[in-house]
Symmetry: C2
Subunit: 701 residues, 2 copies
């Protein structure tokens, strides 16, 4: 058996608490460490029990905020609900990043791993890293971002050791204000050697649990740590169990355990807990072995013993990262299968070490990772309790949902939001394009490669758009993976429109948002489906693009033929606005009909918010694109010219049961531009009426 | 020229004011009078100008409360809107009835004439008839009923002569409280000979206009009377015009004129009004001559002269009612065409004398009567300002909308109403089944003929339902035109389901409400369409019926096969309730998608209100049917047995794009009843599981 003494703990491994829940090892550090261990293999042949899992998962996951009035908002209720339905879940633990760019990466990872459907994630508390601050690397901000911008149910760790009650209350108040609803209450490691129990202070996690319940009543769901082999500092295993009972009795809602290497260890622990009257959920902490050194570090920190059978396998392959990772996956899958089959384990908690591959692979093999998770709404629902009834958003921010959340964070009136309700607050300004959760994942260098080191004309801008749409490399041979308005490659749904999008972008109809018309596809449709099973989803075709004022002049003539089928809003950066739609009334462009429910209309074209979106959409030309180039450089001037002179256009085809006519509208516009109508015959005064006409129709003149 | 002196005014012609607006002649009286007059024919060959009328009418008429945010709520705004769009309107004047049964009839007439699409109706003030009281024959109650229960924009007349300010203010406050928004301000006839102008009293309509504006600011729209040939008591035509100018300057919004017989009379009057600066709308009062005697009476009261050319036609046919009516229609149509073509007349006001035929015929010939008026919503919208945002109702009251309005009259929270909002008030009790606006139009005798003088079994009740559904005479040879739950013959929409309804009612599935599934029919569909043009309407199939507990037991077994496609609620009079739906969440069963709009879902199956409806639906068995028979009589006992033992069932087929499966559900139920499953094979203990099963499934056991 291998045990690492805490005294050996290297001080540069930054944030660490007694339980592994809050034991954070920087990824880059872990990857560097290489050592030699002896291990032995433990293989478990039990099969996974997934019976009935899929269907019950759907029913619990796909309920939308407004649709499901018995939706279980509290994490403990969600757990009970899924436990009762036999619907196994998983959850993921992350630690805060060390750098700002690490924060950007972690948020992307939240999005990717969030798509697999975790019941919650948790973010460890990093006492040395100013954890309650507004810094982008703080525990508080990372957890807040996960909740608010990634829509993830989140638990914030909190350690109480060496903290005043005022400080702790301040942290909790801030967490509450930010929309956090769950706390993992931990003691934390005493700092320095001179720590002694304080009479009225926080000596144990129990004190923190009591404090939370005392100061915040039942607001927070509280999690505490369990030690399947006993806390390293505890006098005995039994003594430690009694402490755990105290924590639960003080008001904790569930337990997550320290990692362990044998299913039996956990199952015995659960039995022992139940025997002394602990009835709350006990979630096993799963640690897929991802590398020799990280295992060694973890064990050192947590004073755990690695079973001989594991050491025997690992030791011979300690220099083979891939082999160790594969073994770790296999070992974790085997152990998890035993746990799930035991009937004692409603959900699995994963120590991810902020990595994706191993955990996702284990979850996939267990059948718990939902490759294409059912969407409750066509957009990701924020997890802030204030937004729980939000069920409608303007379509404009479809590709910039975090920006929409940011700009509406001060609203307290969801779902109605801005439209038609003049008493609601307006959209917040978006001056902070570089907030880490709004920032592009790509570096300036990468952006220049994608969007052009040097632009020579408006046409070279068109080509960037075309490359993005077609996923073909640009002239410099780089794939365009994002645009200022689209941080990700084309959505599968938009891909349905690829050919048409390609064609029009080449000619300077620079599309930034679109959706096809849908006339009643099943809600389970893998591409356009959302909402509970057994329903039908609908869409009106939508197209949004920038284009030149010459194009707009032709477009407006063409659109007359499409009244009242097509609604349009056309605006330039100066706010000159032309529309044939009601100036206050939203147009529902996505809606769903479900068994036993009211109608849901989650996406609208809202004329009021379009004018706020316009500011953002035009600003992105400058903030994200023009500023890549030198001041006064031709490239920058080209982008600025587009910014100053182009119009932002949105079109809705109201006749959703018919074929989308918006491409025909654009074709007609090109046709009119290519073949302008003949002058009037000679016997009539020629130019005048035509000129008048085009003057009147050109917005902004 | 024929003039009737006011001194000849017969005192038994009850309620009468200076203007014909408030001159009311009881229909029965008018019909009795027969006299000899000389008339001459005046034929007008001008064609009606209806160009562009249809489309603009649609656009203004079809805006639903929630759909149209620039909807013009005030009558004066509606007038301006329609005047601007060149969309001619008509309006209808009625007087209060003399008897309670007259009130029931008048309300039915409101419904019938309201279906032609009047912009408003007005109800005359009957000073001798306790006009401001709560009696069913009072002007106040008739106007209130028109607004609240018939959904008609209404003007209440009010005369001020011989009234204290307190009394007038009291009337106005009451009118406001009842949802009336428009007042026709009149002086009224002085009562008795000793009337003199009072210093601070109401001497002229102008005083009343000023008083209304002073006490109620801009709340009411105010109409005043205009006299195309001058008021009979005025010193001169010009003097009378100046009085009219005073009334308008005091705050009147528009003018309705006394009747006249020549278009020129009116058009000159309008020119003269405009010349002295009267700019508000001036609506011509049209009086289609309906009989010799009624014309004579009217002229007598109003001191008008009937032109020789009319007298010359009428006099020879004075004993031929039909001929006079036909002439009256022809004369009115000709005159109205001239008026409408003049461009000076935005709308026509009709003195109906509480009759339907002549006015409807004139309107039909003018193209102003909309035979199948576009419905703004699938149900008639109440005209009470409090309910202007109401856009959803439970489907249960579809055939009893007045009862729904009555039971929700105290709500101040529309459109959400009861569902899901526990802070809303509950439904009011319905103990007053005999309120005149809720009362059946049929007499007890007529009901006994339709529903059976004597019932011999439940089967004879089934036959009444079947007769109603099929519109075939019952065994006694009488057509069943209504049922306690359906005051009118089958709706055209329900007629689509006739064959199926016939089949199931014969077997004791006693249907009281149903709708077919609709998967995106145009909103202009003549049978199922509603809402603005260019939209699509949808429905989930719905079926509601009473049936025996034996049937319900089989039905519940059958319904297992239809999970989750079919939602059901099954309840008996004691409130024993079985459902597979959410117990709080409504199921939208009618919705519409329109260009440039949000989704509208005007009809829902709401579980909470179903339990209120249940009380009413069961009570109707007793209140409207059982009580037709002697206490303890077999007929009464049969109805009471059904009331006590049957269940009320509603079914929704959620899969609206597929063929309605609800008939199959009922067929399966009959099949199960006809061919109960075999007993278990001999080697197993037979009855027990089956018995258990049926025990569990039979609600109420």
């Amino acid at each position: 058996m291998h045990t690492f003494d805490k005294s050996n703990y290297a001080p540069h491994i930054t944030h660490c608490n007694t339980a592994l829940h809050s034991t954070c090892i920087m990824v880059n550090l872990v990857q560097r460490v290489e050592d030699t261990w002896r291990t032995c293999s433990k293989s478990d042949s039990s099969g996974a029990s997934n019976s009935g899992c899929e269907s019950s998962k759907e029913s619990s996951r796909s309920s939308t905020p407004v649709l499901d009035t018995d939706r279980t908002d509290r994490l403990r209720d969600k757990m009970r609900h899924r436990t009762e339905s036999g619907d196994h879940w998983f959850s993921l633990e992350f630690f805060p990043p060390r750098t700002a760019s690490g924060a950007v990466n972690l948020i992307s990872r939240f999005d990717r791993m969030g798509s697999g459907g975790p019941l919650f994630i948790d973010v460890t508390w990093h006492p040395a890293g100013d954890p309650g601050s507004d810094k982008e690397t703080s525990s508080m901000m990372i957890a807040s971002t996960a909740v608010n911008y990634c829509g993830l149910e989140s638990i914030l760790h909190l350690t109480c050791c060496n903290q005043t009650k005022e400080k702790i209350t301040g942290y909790l108040s801030k967490a509450k204000r930010l929309g956090l609803k769950n706390i993992m209450a931990l003691r934390g490691d005493p700092m320095g050697a001179d720590w002694e129990e304080e009479e009225a202070g926080f000596n144990y996690a129990t004190d923190l649990v009591k404090h939370i319940r005392c100061e915040f009543d039942d607001y927070f769901d509280i999690c505490v740590a369990g030690y399947p082999t006993g806390h390293p500092e505890a006098e005995s295993y039994d003594e430690d169990l009694r402490h755990l009972k105290e924590k639960v009795d003080a008001g904790a809602d569930f337990i997550i355990t320290q990692l362990f290497f044998r299913a039996d260890t956990f199952l015995k622990f659960v039995r022992d807990c139940r025997a002394i009257g602990i009835t709350c959920p006990i979630l096993p902490g799963i640690f897929p072995i991802q590398g020799y050194q990280s295992l060694r570090q973890l064990v050192k920190l947590s004073k755990l013993e690695v079973p001989e059978e594991i050491m025997q396998v690992i030791e011979p392959i300690k220099d083979n990262d891939a082999a160790i990772r594969n073994y770790g996956i296999e070992q974790a899958v085997s152990m998890c299968r035993v746990l799930l089959e035991s009937g004692e384990v409603p959900g699995l908690h994963f120590y991810t070490l902020n990595r994706e591959v191993a955990t996702m692979e284990v979850l996939r093999q267990l059948g718990l990772w939902i490759e294409d998770p059912r969407r409750t709404l066509p957009w990701a629902v924020s997890a802030h309790p204030k937004r729980k009834v939000e069920d409608v958003r303007p379509i404009f921010w479809a590709s910039r949902p975090k920006s929409y959340i940011y700009r509406t964070q001060d609203w307290d009136d969801f779902p109605n939001g801005r439209w038609g309700n003049s008493s609601s607050p307006a959209f917040g300004e978006l001056n902070d394009y570089y907030l880490f959760y709004l920032k592009s994942k790509s570096s300036k260098d990468a952006l220049l490669k994608m969007w052009g080191e040097e632009l020579t004309s408006e046409q070279s801008v068109y080509e960037v758009f075309t490359s993005y749409i077609t996923a073909q490399p640009n002239v410099a041979g780089h794939k365009v993976m994002c645009l200022p308005w689209n941080d990700d490659p084309l959505a599968p749904e938009t891909n349905l429109l690829k050919d048409e999008l390609d064609k029009v972008n080449r000619r300077g109809v620079l599309t930034i948002n679109s959706q096809p018309s849908i006339n009643g596809k099943p809600s389970s449709d893998p591409i356009v489906g959302w909402g509970p099973p057994g329903g039908y989803v609908f869409q009106k075709a939508y197209l949004e693009f920038f284009t030149s004022s010459e194009n707009v002049t032709a477009l407006l003539k063409v659109l007359k033929k499409y009244e009242p089928r097509v609604n349009y809003h056309i605006v330039n950066v100066h706010g000159q606005n032309t529309t044939n739609a009601h100036d206050m009334q939203p147009n529902a462009v996505t809606w769903g009909i479900f068994p036993g429910r009211e109608i849901v209309q989650p996406t609208v074209v809202d004329p009021v918010s379009f004018l706020y979106w316009k500011d953002e959409a035009f600003a992105l030309w400058i903030e994200q694109w023009a500023k890549l180039y030198e001041d006064e450089s031709p490239s920058r001037m080209i982008i600025k010219y587009i910014h100053d002179n182009y119009f932002l256009v949105n079109l809705v085809d109201n006749d959703f049961p018919l074929d989308n006519c918006l491409w025909q509208v654009i074709d007609d516009m090109f046709e009119l531009l290519d073949n302008p109508p003949e002058e009037q015959p000679a016997e009539q005064p020629a130019e005048q009426p035509n000129d008048e006409q085009s003057d009147k129709e050109q917005p902004g003149k």
